[in-house]
């Protein structure tokens, strides 16, 4: 049996759970990563305060791929600047593009995201753009050199689930890159749903960070994502449509 790997920009992963590291304390990160079975963790870049002794990198287990985001960027230029700085810290070529200039809904700007993707892909980054699920924008991102597409399920931090389900399904059906549902997933059942649809992976942060028991919720997500993946690979069973079969036969005319 062929192994079921997630491949992003030529890098292989067994886990399909991308864990966010925001909004919870550093000493819980290790347990969360372990329980999540996560092989990719997202980070943000901020100005360093002098005398900061604790650094998040010291809390992340060895071998986990770091995925810096460009949060804080309001346009392509700022996203590019943040990505370049992040690479300078020396933790690999991965970057999650996040361009937001809407402080109310925090919705990503697809146009600026495409521009940033194009620049960074040319510089050798493994670019994973966070985007509003729009097919044309997704195609532009593919052409710009993205390594995956990360459509939002619902506004960041809302825990509302996959409100954009039909549109994410279109991306899954039409785009050849891994589709990773990012933002809005609030419960393991919603992560499972995304995976059943054929998403390549799920990214979650707030849902875990705001749980009563963070490591336990990380584990619940891990199981849900694995279950959803298995269901997708198994092929979902039929849903019997209500109502009788259709009217008069259409094939009665056939001869030879």
């Amino acid at each position: 049996m062929k192994q079921d790997k997630l491949v992003i920009g030529g890098h292989e992963f067994d886990s399909r759970f991308i864990l966010g590291s925001g909004k919870y304390s550093l000493d819980l990160i290790n347990a969360a990563v372990q329980n999540a079975g996560a092989q990719i963790i997202t980070l943000a870049l901020r100005r360093t305060n002098t005398g900061d002794t604790a650094n998040i990198l010291d809390y992340i287990p060895e071998g986990v791929t770091l995925l810096p985001n460009t949060s804080g960027a309001r346009n392509a230029e700022e996203a590019v600047r943040i990505a370049r700085l992040a690479r300078e810290v020396g933790c690999g070529d991965f970057v999650k593009i996040e361009v937001i200039h809407d402080s109310k809904y925090l919705l990503p700007d697809n146009y600026e995201t495409i521009k940033a993707t194009e620049i960074l892909a040319k510089e050798g980054f493994v670019v994973m753009p966070y985007m509003y699920p729009d097919l044309n924008a997704a195609r532009d991102l593919v052409n710009a050199g993205a390594a995956s597409i990360m459509p939002l399920g619902a506004p960041i931090g809302s825990n509302k689930g996959i409100c954009t389900k039909d549109f994410i399904q279109i991306l899954i059906d039409e785009i050849d890159l891994p589709i990773i549902v990012d933002a809005g997933i609030g419960k393991p059942s919603q992560a499972c749903e995304a995976m059943e649809m054929g998403a390549a992976a799920v990214m979650a942060n707030t849902a875990i960070a705001t749980a009563g028991d963070i490591p336990a919720m990380a584990e619940a997500f891990k199981k849900a994502i694995e279950a959803g993946r298995s269901a997708y690979l198994a092929g979902l069973g039929r849903v019997i449509e209500k109502g009788g079969s259709a009217s008069s036969p259409l094939t009665g005319f056939l001869k030879d």
């Binding site: 195609r139 399904q169 059906d173 039409e174 050849d176 092929g235 039929r238 849903v239 449509e241 079969s245 259709a246 036969p249 259409l250 094939t251 005319f253 056939l254 001869k255 030879d256």
Partner: protein, 387 residues
Amino acid sequence: MSKRIDKNTNHMQYTEDMEAIDSDIMDQVIAEMEAYDAAKYTAADVKRALDAETCSPEDFKALLSPAALPFLEEIAQKAQKETRKHFGNSVMMFTPLYIANYCENYCIYCGFNCNNKIKRAKLNTEEIEKEMRTIAETGLEEILILTGESPNMSSVEYIGEACKIARKYFKVVGLEVYPMDSKDYAYLHECGADFVTVFQETYNSEKYKTLHLGGRKRIFPYRFNAQERAVMGGIRGVGFAALLGLDDFRKDALATGMHAYLLQRKYPHAEIAFSCPRLRPIINNDKINPKDVHEPQLLQVICAYRIFMPFASITISSRECARFRDNIIQIAATKISAGVNVGIGGHTGEEKGDEQFEIDDARNVEEIYQMIEEKGMQPVMTDYIYV
């Protein structure tokens, strides 16, 4: 002059004067076709395909399999639903116009082939205009211009002149001519052509080489990539077809669908069309050949195309009988020819050259129009705005 292409020429190698584009669609289609084992699909696979909201390539394979034949009624019902969703009750009408029948290819199954002693002719521009005027008077607004495949006798410039005349009389101009380079397609687009159809005949290249013994058509990849070159040249829509029955029709139908599917994915703006010609099985033949395309199999293929690509235009040939055509336009086909004459100059009653094949449904435009209306459908001459 380019080198003579005969049965010893490597059919997979472009000749020097052919534009070779960088595309992996052909390799993908051939890999899919070679891996397709129609016998392994089960009734459960077919049911799953029927229930799926969008038809995946896997579902398409199931719908083309022998296991799907017992579900033909359900498949037709689903195809009809998809057709209604995307096209409502409309049926497009058009007619083909053969302006020449010179051909440089030796295709052993074709009446036009260069070794057949038939009456050859080509219409001059006055004759083309006369034919087109006559056709336009019937009310048709879409025309399909055909030539035999002879770049020497029917040059790109000659076809371009025909397109320019056609633009005066018709709103939509399609071409079914020999494959050419993208710059030639760009030129013909400028002259007024918007749609290009090329039949691959069979996607099995080993079979292909035994059927196409000479002429440029022998070069399989050049023909395969014609639609992509047409799109690169600015052509708006492209048509695909295998001549079902030349080889394993299930594999050929699968390849035709995948060819269109992959091209549409690469060029999302390209409009997609299918034609569904078949070699008729020999009647009263005791041997039942599983490769034969009888009416149920033809219906199966057309419905599978419809369900796989619900937005595609599907044309039903006048080689099929009136009964089949009248029914298929209510299920899956969306385009029907009318007033068909496949000779050279036949529309004005002065036929100069012989026909490529015999048609079955000879009804004129008025008769087809009325038939469509009687079926509760809406005949449409054009739904296209030239931009």
